[in-house]
């Protein structure tokens, strides 16, 4: 647990005059579920996009698996990307391919395995993501929101990445599906020993699933730690976030569940 798999240091980003990240530094350890929280527009998703090289920061450094990723050439970037899985907020499934083809695609592109084995491995990922086998031959347009997210997760898992990025995995899901997703994330962490970076506003997800949480606001990291530690923070933005009416409810529920399990 004490080896950093992802180190961000002194990262600065701005769009025009708006400063999004002002010298941000974070460390994410191997095997942990790390959540990035903060109010809308504070640059959470931007941070994620910068880590997976979809967007360039102005300055700073991002080291993944001990290697600097900013400024990588195309070939090296490809190697790096194979080690990471990304689940996009709205799924970003290819609408002309069915679920099985969507999940098989990375395998077909980057491995020399036979088509049969590829389909079997893709089926494993689909089952791991909690989709019924009947969903394999459906097209994204025929899936419900929750199933689409699971299919997107299955595709992100296709190449057995060590590092998995999830952008708002529970946004737009009903409470039942959302808590199903919480369970899924925990299950994946236990069984595959994944390191996960989750961008979310979902307080239940933060309380139940995240090992550590970084709270972004005003372009800075306002706090990093377990939810317990964060909820004791004195920073007004964090207090507002966690002790607003919804924050309090989620916190109480988390307390209750902990006392039951003990």
């Amino acid at each position: 647990m004490n080896e950093a798999i992802l180190e961000i240091s002194d990262l600065c980003t701005s769009f025009g005059n708006a400063v999004i990240h002002d010298h941000i530094s974070l460390e994410i350890m191997r095997g942990e579920v790390f959540a990035i929280a903060g109010s809308s527009g504070c640059g959470k998703s931007t941070l994620l996009r910068e880590i997976i090289l979809l967007q360039k920061p102005i300055s700073g450094s991002i080291r993944v698996f001990g290697k600097e990723v900013l400024g990588l050439g195309d070939m090296e970037a490809l190697d790096f990307r194979k080690g990471c899985g990304m689940m996009f907020e709205r799924g970003a499934l290819f609408s002309s391919l069915n679920v099985l083809e969507n999940v098989s695609l990375p395998l077909q592109e980057h491995t020399l395995l036979s088509q049969d084995l590829i389909e079997e491995i893709a089926s494993i990922k689909i089952a791991l993501a909690g989709l019924p086998a009947s969903a394999k031959f459906k097209y994204p347009g025929e899936l419900s929101g929750g199933m689409r997210k699971r299919a997107a997760l299955a595709r992100a898992l296709a190449l057995d990445p060590e590092l998995l990025f999830l952008d708002e995995p529970t946004a737009g899901l009903d409470p039942l599906s959302a808590s199903g997703f919480d369970e899924l994330v925990l299950h994946l962490k236990r069984s595959l020993e994944l390191t996960m970076v989750i961008v979310t506003h979902d307080l239940d997800l933060l309380w139940h699933v995240a090992d550590r949480v970084a709270f972004l606001g005003d372009g800075h990291v306002l706090g990093v730690g377990t939810m317990m530690e964060l909820s004791e923070s004195n920073h007004p933005l964090i207090r507002e976030y966690f002790f607003g009416p919804r924050g309090r409810a989620a916190r109480e529920q988390a307390w209750k569940q902990k006392s039951i399990t003990r």
Binding site: I124, D160, L192
Partner: protein, 372 residues
């Protein structure tokens, strides 16, 4: 350096290995998605049936792909497995426990069924199209009865985009067409010394047929496709539903303005195309057949009857209605995805050009019957 799979992909070089020593199967290396690339082919050839136990203590790493291969290889052999690391064993167990179900790919249809389905789709599309035309007709009658409800702003907008902005391309193409016809005709006519008849050739072919047809085809490609793309994208992003919810009828806001604008624009464009086409022919005639401009215009006035022009321009509103209705109709038939928008746009252009030409053929038959 030879090009083996691992060096090609630049992944680690620790390949998964499997060997048979006596009655033992030795497994080693990295059973990961990058490590098992070579293994799959070898597995099929290995005589596993003679073995009694598996020594797995040398497996250094394993992910779900490796675990699946491990499970798949040993499945049904009932071998004793020794030395598998607990973490890897758990992974194999988890992979084995997943319910993958048999491949339930929908059965592909037989030829007869495919023909039937295609035929039925064609028929039902025809039915939908007819009912859409009916709706449009009712809306047009309503609009005529309550002119106050007609939305002029989108009409102006469409007039500009589908009409005015098409002037350069429609003019240029019919100008070139006029030149081509005069040039092709010149050789034949000059052979008989019938140079002056080039006026009849150009006048009749441009005014009656080519002017309206060419313009309609350009507009079908230019504006029909734009109508479909706009409406289908709006449908995919639920803008059309939002519009209905707010209480604005998409028919009044989107479809009628397009149809009305095209009904106005296409005849005007046709007149413009006629002028440019005849101009092109006139220039070519003076170059190639030494028919002077004044002779050309004199002859034009005496030999081309007004009916030729009216027949041509009279067809334009019909073509306009076809293009606009097909464009809007195909836009509304979109289904959910980005892919579908492209498909519908293609369909819209192909169908409207096809229908325009069919309508033109029908017009020819009718006009020859009534001897116009």
């Amino acid at each position: 350096m030879d090009v083996c799979p691992s060096s090609r992909t630049g992944w680690n070089d620790m390949q998964a290995r499997i060997e048979i020593v006596g009655s033992e199967i030795h497994m080693a290396g990295e059973w990961t998605i990058s490590g098992v690339a070579d293994l799959e082919g070898k597995l099929a050839e290995l005589p596993l049936s003679g073995a009694t136990s598996v020594m797995a203590q040398d497996i250094e790493a394993m992910d779900t792909a490796g675990a699946w291969l491990f499970h798949r290889t040993l499945q049904g052999h009932g071998l004793g497995i020794a030395g598998l690391k607990p973490g890897h064993a758990a992974l194999v167990e988890m992979v084995a426990s997943l319910d993958l179900a048999e491949r339930t790919e929908p059965q592909s249809r037989g030829v007869l069924e495919k023909v039937g389905v295609a035929g039925w789709q064609l028929l039902s599309q025809l039915g939908d199209m007819l009912s859409f035309i009916g709706e449009v007709a009712i809306a047009l009658v309503h609009a005529a009865a309550n002119p106050g409800r007609i939305r002029w702003k989108p009409i102006w907008h469409n007039l500009q985009h589908a009409g005015f902005n098409a002037l350069p391309i429609a003019g240029l193409l019919s100008f070139l067409m006029g030149i081509v016809i005069a040039y092709q005709g010149a050789e034949q006519l000059a052979r008989y010394g019938a140079n002056i008849f080039v006026v009849n050739l150009i006048g009749l072919s441009m005014l009656r047929e080519l002017g309206p047809l060419l313009t309609a085809i350009i507009i079908a490609g230019r504006s029909g496709s734009a109508f479909t793309a706009q409406i289908s994208t709006m449908k995919v992003t639920e803008e059309i539903d939002a519009m209905s919810t707010i209480g604005i009828s998409p028919m009044e806001q989107l479809i009628l303005p397009k149809i009305i604008a095209l009904l106005i624009a296409l005849p005007l464009l046709t007149v413009y195309a006629d002028i440019m086409g005849v101009l092109g022919g006139m220039i070519m005639a003076s170059f190639d057949l030494s028919v002077s401009y004044t002779d050309f215009i004199d002859r034009f006035g005496s030999s081309i009857r007004l009916s030729a022009f009216l027949v041509g321009v009279g067809k334009a509103p019909v073509f306009a209605a076809i293009i606009a209705v097909v464009g809007c109709f195909q836009g509304f038939r979109v289904e959910g995805s980005a892919d579908s928008v492209g498909r519908q746009t293609t369909k819209s252009v192909v169908q409207s050009i096809f229908l325009v030409i069919v309508a033109d053929a029908i017009f020819s038959v009718i006009f020859s019957l009534v001897q116009l």
